[in-house]
Symmetry: C3
Subunit: 352 residues, 3 copies
C-alpha cells in the first residue's frame, strides 16, 4: 500500500560519502552511492553476475565495483566491465531516479519515466543562512501510515511527551482539519498559556523571557507520499500569535520524511528547521538532542500499536475529530494509490 510514483528520502548525504549504502525503500533493496563526480546513483542491490549485494562493493573512479568478483557497474545499471569477460550481453539491472537536494538524497521507486525532479518538495530552510536545521534518522517497526497518524494528531504530545512539549491545553483546544487537493492541514491555536519545557528552551534560545504566558500554534501539513511539515511556535501572549513579529516569538518547522521499508517498517527522517538565532550551533545541537529524545518516546508506542493491529486485524479503529488529519491523509493516499494501480495518466505527486 505504497505510492511508488513519488519521491522519498532515501538517506542523508553523509551516509554515502565513504561507501555504498544498501537500503530497502518500498520493499525494493537499493544500493545508493556516489558515482562519477560524486553524483548520487541508485541501483538494484543485486549484482547480475551471481546475485551478491552491490552495496558490499566499493566505488572506484565513479564505477561501483562488486565486492565479490569485481564486476564494474555503471550508474545506468549497465555492466561496464568485468575482469576477463565480455559484458556486452549482460542484462542490465534497474536504475532508479535519484537526486541529492536540500540536504537529502531522494529516490523515486516507481516508473522512472514519470520522475521529475521539479516535484521534489521545497525545503525553505535549505541553503538559507537565515535558517538552521538539525535532525536524525530512526528505524521503526510500523506501517508508515501509523506515523502519519501520529504526526497529524498532536494530542498525543500530552501523553507521550508529557515532560517536554505536552500540555493539557492541547487536548482542550479543538483542531481544524481541511484537505485541499492532495494536501491535508490540521491546525490548532492556543492562547495565553504557559510554555512547556521545550518551548522555554526555545524562548531562551531566542533571547526571550521564558516565564511569561504565550500563544502557541501547531499547523500540520501532510503531503503525499508521506511527509509531514509542522509549523510550531510560541509568541509572547497577545502580540499576534502565529502572526506576531519575529522579535517576540520562537517558531520552527518540524520536518518529517517517512520512507516505507516494508509494510510494517519505516525509515523515519526527523528534524527541526528554525529561522531564529540560526547561527547558534550550540542551540541547534541542543534542539536536535531534545527533539531526538522526544521523538524516541514514540517508538515503543508505534511498534506495539503495530503489533496490536496485526493481532486484531478485523477490528475497526475509531475516527474521531482529532483523527481527521490522519483519516483525510489516508483518503488522499488511497485515491492516489488506486489511480497509480489502474495506470492512470500521470498526475504525479507534487509535494508543495
Amino acid at each position: 500500500m505504497f505510492l511508488n510514483n513519488a519521491w522519498y528520502v532515501a538517506c542523508m548525504p553523509a551516509e554515502i560519502d565513504d561507501k555504498p549504502l544498501g537500503r530497502t525503500v518500498c520493499k525494493q533493496p537499493i544500493v545508493f552511492y556516489r558515482g562519477g563526480d560524486g553524483v548520487v546513483a541508485a541501483l538494484e542491490d543485486f549484482c547480475p553476475h551471481r546475485g551478491a549485494p552491490l552495496s558490499l562493493g566499493r566505488v572506484i573512479e565513479g564505477k561501483l565495483v562488486c565486492g565479490y568478483h569485481g564486476l564494474e557497474m555503471g550508474c545506468d545499471g549497465k555492466t561496464i566491465a568485468m575482469p576477463g569477460q565480455r559484458v556486452r550481453g549482460f542484462a542490465p539491472i534497474r536504475s532508479y531516479p535519484v537526486v541529492e537536494r536540500h540536504g537529502f538524497v531522494w529516490v523515486w521507486p516507481g516508473d522512472a519515466a514519470q520522475a521529475n525532479a521539479a516535484l521534489i518538495p521545497d525545503c525553505a530552510w535549505a541553503d538559507n543562512p537565515d535558517w538552521a536545521y538539525g535532525g536524525g534518522l530512526f528505524h521503526i517497526g510500523c506501517d508508515y501510515r501509523l506515523m502519519v497518524d501520529n504526526l497529524m494528531d498532536l494530542t498525543h504530545e500530552t501523553y507521550v511527551h508529557a515532560t517536554s512539549i505536552g500540555q493539557k491545553e492541547i487536548d482542550d483546544t479543538p483542531s481544524v482539519t481541511k484537505t485541499e487537493g492532495d494536501q491535508v492541514t490540521t491546525s490548532r491555536f492556543m492562547a495565553n498559556i504557559t510554555p512547556p519545557p521545550f518551548w522555554k528552551l526555545a524562548l531562551r534560545g531566542n533571547h526571550l523571557p521564558d516565564d511569561q504566558s504565550v500563544d502557541r500554534w501547531q499547523i500540520c501539513h501532510f503531503s503525499p507520499p508521506s511527509q509531514v511539515m509542522i509549523e510550531v511556535g510560541v509568541a509572547l501572549a497577545g502580540q499576534g500569535g502565529y502572526h506576531a513579529d519575529a522579535k517576540v516569538k520562537a517558531s520552527s518547522v518540524v520536518v518529517d520524511f517517512i520512507t516505507p521499508e516494508s509494510d510494517t517498517s519505516i525509515w523515519y527522517f526527523w528534524g527541526m528547521a528554525r529561522n531564529f538565532n540560526a547561527r547558534d550551533k550550540a542551540l541547534t545541537a541542543a534542539i536536535r538532542d531534545g527533539q531526538g529524545k522526544i521523538f524516541s518516546e514514540d517508538l515503543e508506542m508505534l511498534e506495539r500499536q503495530q503489533q496490536n493491529l496485526l493481532a486484531w486485524p478485523e477490528r475497526a479503529l475509531l475516527k474521531l475529530n482529532i483523527d481527521a488529519g490522519g483519516v483525510q491523509a489516508r483518503r488522499v493516499l488511497d485515491r492516489l494509490i488506486a489511480a497509480e494501480r489502474v495506470g492512470a495518466p500521470a498526475s504525479p505527486v507534487s509535494a508543495s
Copy 2:
C-alpha cells in the same frame, strides 16, 4: 488446547503495584492494573481508539488512561471519557474476571458468566503465620502440558537435578498414580535413604540432624487447568515417614501454577510453602534461591524437548508407568476441553 473456563495465575501482586502490566494468557493479550481503591482489573490490552496497548498507559484516580491520546478506560471495558470527545458510542472492550487472592492475581480467560471466585484453589499457606512462602516466575518456551508431565514424573530429578534433590532411590521406587474426578495424584515413598543436599539444608533449617537416614515422600497433585501441588518432605527414618510428628521432619509443598501464554510458551509460577520454622526469613530466602536454581535446570530441557516435538510431529511418545501422572492429567484435560468446546452445561473447573 487450553481450558478457557478456568482460573489461571496472571501475575504476582507486586507486578502491578507501580504501573499496568501487559501479559498474554491463553493467547489473549490482557492488561492488568489496580483500578479504584487498588482493586485489580483486567482488560483487553487494546485501546478502542487506535489500537494502542493500554498497558503502556497510566492509572489515574482508578482509571486506566491510554498513554497515546488519553482515552480513559473503566474497569468494565467501557470508555469513561476522552479529551474533547463524546464517548457514549464507543464500543466496549472485553473485561476479564480477575481476583487477587492468596498472594496471586487470578484471571478467567473464558466465559465470564461462568467465573466463580469460589473455584479459585485454596492455598493453605496464605495468610497463615505458621506457614512461609517464597517463589518466582519463569517464562519458558514449551507447551504447558510438558511442564505438567515434568512435575508429575519426578524421576527426572535423578538426572536433571542430580546435585540437589535427585537420588537413585527415586528411580528405584515405583510410584502410584490414581485419578479421582478431575484430580490426579502420583505418590512415591522412599524408606531409610540418605537425604540429598537440598533436604539436608531443610533439615538443618528445622534444627534437625542432616547426617541420619530419612524416609522421603513425594505426592504430586494435579488439578486442572494446570496446577501441580507437590507434598514433599523427609522424616528421620522409622518415625512414621509422611505421618511422623512435625518435630522429626521437614516438609513442604512445592507450588506450581502454569499459565499458558501460547501453544508453545508458558508463564511458570513456582514456589515452596513450608510449615516449619516459618518465621525464619533467611531460611525462606535460602530455600527460594535453591529452588530457583534447581527449577532453572529444567528450562533448556523443556524448550529443547518442545523443539524436538515440533520437528517430529508424527512421532508417538511412550507412556510408561512413570508417565502415568502426565498421561492421566492430559486425559482429564482432554475431557474438560472437549466438554467446553461443545458448550456443555457449566461444570466449571474447581481446583481442590
Copy 3:
C-alpha cells in the same frame, strides 16, 4: 537438494570428547558421542521415551543416558535399559553410519546399507609427520552450493581478500576447468608475480626470501558431495612453478568440507595442510589464524548473497567462464541427486 548417500564431516573429534554433541546434518538432528571404548556413535537426537534431545544427556560406561529420565540408549539405536522399565518393546531410533578418520568424524545421512567406509576421502596429510594441519569450523547461513561456487572461483580473492591473498593477476589469468567422472578441477597458473602478504608469510615460514618474484598456482578439486581441496602455492620464479623442487617453494592444500545443515545453512570445516616445515607449531598456528581471518571475510558476502537470492528467486544468474567450476560441480550434483531419487542402483559417491 542434498546428496544423502555420501559421507559428510559431522564434527571434529574434540567436539565430542567431553560430552555428546547435537548437530543437524542434511536437515537431520543427530547426536554424536563416544560409545564403548570411545568409538564414535551417531543417533537421531530424539529420546524414544518423551522426545528429549539425547544430546543433553551423558555417556556412562559407553551408553548414552538421556538427561531427562535416564533411558539408556545403545549405539545401535536400541534402548538398553531404563529405571524400573522393561524396554524390549521400545521402538528403536535411527542410528547413522559414522566413522572417525583423518582427524574428522564422518557421517552418512542416507541409506545405511550403502555406507562404505572405503569411500571416505583420502587425506594425505593425516597421520603423516611430513605434514601439518590446522583448521576451524564456521556456521554460515547459505546454501552449501554457494560455498562450492566460492571455492571453485578464486577470482573473488582479489576483491574479498584484497589484503592477504588477493592480487590483480588472479583476475588477469584465465582458469581452465574440466570434469572427469564426478570430479571437477579448475586450475590457474600465474608466472613471475609479486607474492601477496599471506604467501610472503608462508615463504618466510619455509625459510625462503619473500621479496622476490614467484610463480603461483591454484588447483581447485571439487568432489561430491561437497568437498573442495585446493592445491595452492608459490615457487621462486622460473624454477618450475608447481613442479619446482620443494626447496624453492611453499605449497599447501586448502581443505574445505562443507556440510549442509539446512537448505540455507552449512557447517563449514576449513583448514590448511602443508608439507613444509611441518614440525613448526608456531607456524601452524600463524597460518591457521591467518586463514581463519581470511575465510571470515567471506561470511557476510555469502549470507547476504543468500538473502538476495531468496528475495529474487526468479532471477537467473550468469554462468561465465570463471563460474565453470561451480557450474560443472552443480551438474555433477544434479546428476547424482537425480539418480539417488529414482533409487538407482548404488553407485555411491567416492571422494577421490
